[in-house]
């Protein structure tokens, strides 16, 4: 009897799912999002850079999605974002749980420690901001170009100290990549956070630092940015040459975007990606982010996935050549 019951259940389940599939093209499913709030998991504390970004973008995303969509932020800080990334990867792929995603950090974590997710655990919605790294010295420093700094490092390997926000992030990778491109070595000093690294630099306790461009904004009178590690100059610092212009082919920076658990219904994914794409032309969002020192850089769907894989590759190679723990 139970067998028949189970059979009936299976059959009815198939019937229901068939109906659901048929319903895919009807307005019922196109109504995503319905009244249920869309939760965005942020792997960092409230008030941090990624948190503020998520809240700002969330506000505009609500407008793009229409239907009185509600975006709520849920902070799950810890382990350099890993707790948040993991919980996104494990969430139900129904479009009501999204997460912020930081590159290269999120992928670097999967190499230097055990992680419960990998690149395939997510559906890639959109990168939103790109913040290139820079090479910075204090205004009182004797170095006026990347060449001079590298010359000094080459004369006495390890003599040039480099302040970093932390190990295993874009600051660290910038220093490693630059050292490799210039065939020299820097003495790396991981501080606890970008602002501590910047303060040590301002106070003359360390010679140089690799920090994100946004961290240098507002400190133009105190800091001298020697190079932007990007393929083109930044609109925030149009006078600063790229590393490439100075003969060192290095690109590194931090990317912040949004992902969903892998396996979103196609409709939902399209809806979300379309909404993010539309944000690219949103001038108000662009200005709001610029006031916070961030450049809007929308990269969606498959292109975002490719960006992820490329960043992941860079992190993996660095981990293999310079394991940091």
């Amino acid at each position: 009897m139970f067998k028949t019951l189970r059979k009936t259940l299976v059959i009815s389940a198939i019937a229901v799912s068939a109906q659901a599939m048929a319903a895919l093209n009807t307005p019922a499913f196109a109504d995503y999002p319905d009244s249920k709030p869309i939760e965005v998991i942020v792997g960092y504390s409230a008030g941090g850079g990624t948190d503020v970004l998520a809240r700002v973008v969330g506000k505009y995303l609500e407008q793009e999605l229409g239907n009185d969509a509600r975006v709520v932020i849920k902070n799950q800080p810890g382990a350099g974002g890993q707790i948040g990334f993991t919980s996104v990867a494990r969430a139900k792929a129904d479009g009501y749980t999204l997460g912020t995603f930081n590159l290269p950090a999120a992928m670097a974590l999967t190499y230097d420690r055990k992680a419960a997710y990998d690149a395939n655990s997510f559906d890639y919605l959109a990168n939103v901001v790109h913040d290139p790294n820079t090479l910075v010295v204090s205004q009182t420093s004797p170095y006026h170009s990347l060449k001079e700094l590298i010359q000094a490092a080459k004369e006495k390997p390890g003599s040039v100290g480099m302040a970093l926000a932390s190990l295993g992030g874009n600051d660290h990778f910038s220093a490693l990549l630059l050292a490799a491109a210039a065939d020299t070595e820097f003495n790396l000093f991981p501080f606890s956070g970008a602002s501590m690294a910047r303060t040590a630099l301002l106070g003359g306790h360390v010679a140089a630092g690799t920090m994100a461009l946004s961290q240098t904004i507002g400190f133009e009178d105190e800091l001298r940015v020697l190079a932007v590690l990007d393929d083109k100059r930044s609109s925030f610092a149009p006078d600063v040459p790229t590393a490439k212009e100075q003969g060192y082919d290095v690109e590194m920076g931090s990317y912040r975007g949004f992902v969903a658990p892998h396996g979103l219904p196609e409709k939902v994914k399209t809806r979300l990606v379309t909404a993010f794409k539309a944000l690219a032309d949103n001038k108000k969002l662009r200005d709001e982010l610029a006031a916070q020192g961030n450049t809007l850089d929308i990269i969606t769907g498959d292109d975002y996935r490719q960006l992820n894989d490329a960043q992941s590759d860079v992190a993996r190679k660095l981990w293999e050549s310079h394991p940091w723990k």
Partner: protein, 502 residues
């Protein structure tokens, strides 16, 4: 620049902005007074709402919460020996004995006046001296911060209690807890046992609540008898305005503790709890009757409360000018500024003077409001809490700390961790191990270690770097003075006694 200060005043005095500060102070006192809930948490909750608010309304509430909570933490510290915030630990040393002697009301009045004074000094320093003091912050690199931490450690001597060995074991336990997590310099994971939740270290609130709030709360549950409202229920208070003249004799402590609070505030990465410990210690060292301390000396309450509030606005100096979130609260506040497109840094003062200077005024008003709101609230309302049946009070505290600890990172792991610390705290209590050294060890242990190693790394492994800068030399001199002066004075006394005997 001072012109900007005056220009910012009218908008601060507008109805809405002033109301925001008042609401903030009241909310801050309540949050601070509830064990397990902190200013950081209250401001984090506020963050999502600040989007729709005028920047000064949002910032005014934050300034109010920050100041209110720093004082609010002293209320349960005095009445129940449960510090509401980490910075109120030192307040409980003398505040609780005072309450037991029936002078709890006076202790709270000393706390509120001292908090307000510390806050006012701090706000004035922020308003008038922020740019020059930011230069002082820059003098402190890893080497110098290491020495400050060592200086702070010297306070441990006074916290050990009767049994030196037990005191040192407690301190070592605190240092051990501070080492849990990923080492920032090598990335090595220490004592994390594969738990991601431990990778960033153990939040001080988790430890504090476990050690300080749980065992007394369990103790309350053990008392079947209803609370004796005859004796301890009354706080024996006079009007705060009548009490103030009697407090004027603490002026030296107020001045000293304000300076210490401001100094710790401008240090990169040091917080209010360190300020309170340092200032308690210095006040006791300067006191004529050091043996009375820890047994109900009002000056101890004054020292601790002045400096933890003197730290608040001063901590914003490195936060606003250099973007260093010295405390968890300052970090969340920076987020609040960022939401309104206000990037910390030297440019902030030039680009958005009306908001930055308005924010500073709000700190000043919040500190002044403390006397009015804190005095009335604490002595009239919060003290009534003591009249609750004790098991009920215990149950309320336990549910509050569960909520508070859960909300720090939104996970049960921290709650379990807190329960573990609660168990340890319960046994420490029964076996007479002192708790303050644990807190000091946790605050300073890892802090000193990371900075020492970073300094040595910058110096290429050469220990000379530790004494290379003038700032470091001054600090070493101060530490030697503090350690050697009791020895020296004892030696002098012995020689004198010998001469007299001859």
């Amino acid at each position: 620049m001072y012109g900007n200060l005056i220009d910012a005043l009218p908008s601060v005095l507008s109805m809405g902005n002033l109301l925001a500060v008042i609401v903030g102070v009241v909310a801050g006192i309540c949050v601070g007074a509830l064990p397990g809930l902190s200013a950081t948490m209250a401001i984090s909750v506020l963050i999502p709402f600040t989007f729709g608010m005028d920047p000064l309304v949002a910032l005014g509430m934050m300034a109010g919460i920050y100041n209110g909570a720093m004082y609010g933490g002293s209320i349960p510290a005095v009445l129940l020996r449960i510090p509401g915030t980490p910075a109120a630990v030192a307040t409980s040393f003398d505040g609780y004995p005072m309450a037991q002697q029936g002078r709890g009301g006076y202790a709270l009045q000393v706390a509120v006046v001292s908090s307000a004074l510390g806050g006012i000094v701090s706000a004035l320093v922020l308003m008038l001296l922020a740019p020059p003091l930011a230069k002082v912050t820059l003098l402190f690199g890893p080497t110098e911060i290491f020495w400050v931490a060592v200086f702070g450690m010297s306070a441990i001597v006074f916290l050990l209690g009767g049994d030196v060995i037990k005191g040192l074991i407690s301190a070592a336990f605190g240092v051990f807890v501070s080492l849990v997590g990923a080492d920032t310099i090598t990335g090595a994971e220490r004592y994390t046992f594969g738990h991601l939740e431990l990778l960033d270290g153990i939040n001080i609130v988790v430890l504090l609540v476990g050690l300080y709030a749980l065992p007394p709360a369990i103790g309350l549950l053990e008392e079947i008898r209803d609370f004796d409202t005859e004796n301890t229920g009354r706080l024996n208070t006079t009007s705060i305005w009548k009490a103030i003249p009697g407090m004027l004799k603490y002026w030296k402590t107020w001045v000293r503790s304000s300076i210490i609070g401001v100094f710790v505030g401008i240090l990169p990465g040091a917080g209010g709890s360190m300020a309170a410990f340092l200032s308690y210690n210095e006040a006791r060292r300067a006191s004529k009757n050091p043996d009375d301390w820890g047994k109900g000396e009002p000056e101890g309450v004054a020292a601790s409360e002045t400096s933890n509030n003197a730290d608040t606005a001063a901590a914003l100096i490195p936060a606003l000018t250099l973007g260093i979130p010295g405390t968890a609260v300052a970090a969340v506040m920076l987020g609040g500024l960022l939401i309104h497109g206000l990037q910390p840094g030297p440019m902030l003062f030039r680009d958005n003077p009306e908001i930055v200077f308005g924010f500073m005024w709000q700190f000043l008003f919040a500190a002044i409001l403390l006397i009015f709101l804190g005095g009335a609230l604490a002595t009239n309302s919060f003290a009534q809490v003591l009249r609750l049946p004790r098991p009920l009070l215990g149950a309320i505290i336990i549910s509050l700390v569960f909520i508070g600890v859960y909300s720090i990172n939104g996970r049960m792991f921290d709650v379990y961790l807190m329960l573990g610390f609660g168990l340890i705290g319960y046994f420490m209590d029964k076996l007479k191990f002192p708790l303050p050294p644990v807190v000091l060890g946790l605050i300073l242990g890892g802090f000193a270690e990371q900075n020492l190693r970073l300094a040595l790394r910058i110096g290429g492994g050469n220990w000379d770097i530790l004494a290379s800068s003038p700032t470091a030399k001054v600090l070493i001199g101060m530490i030697l003075l503090v350690i050697l002066s009791p020895l020296f004075s004892r030696l002098m006394r012995a020689r004198k006694a010998k001469r007299v005997a001859e």
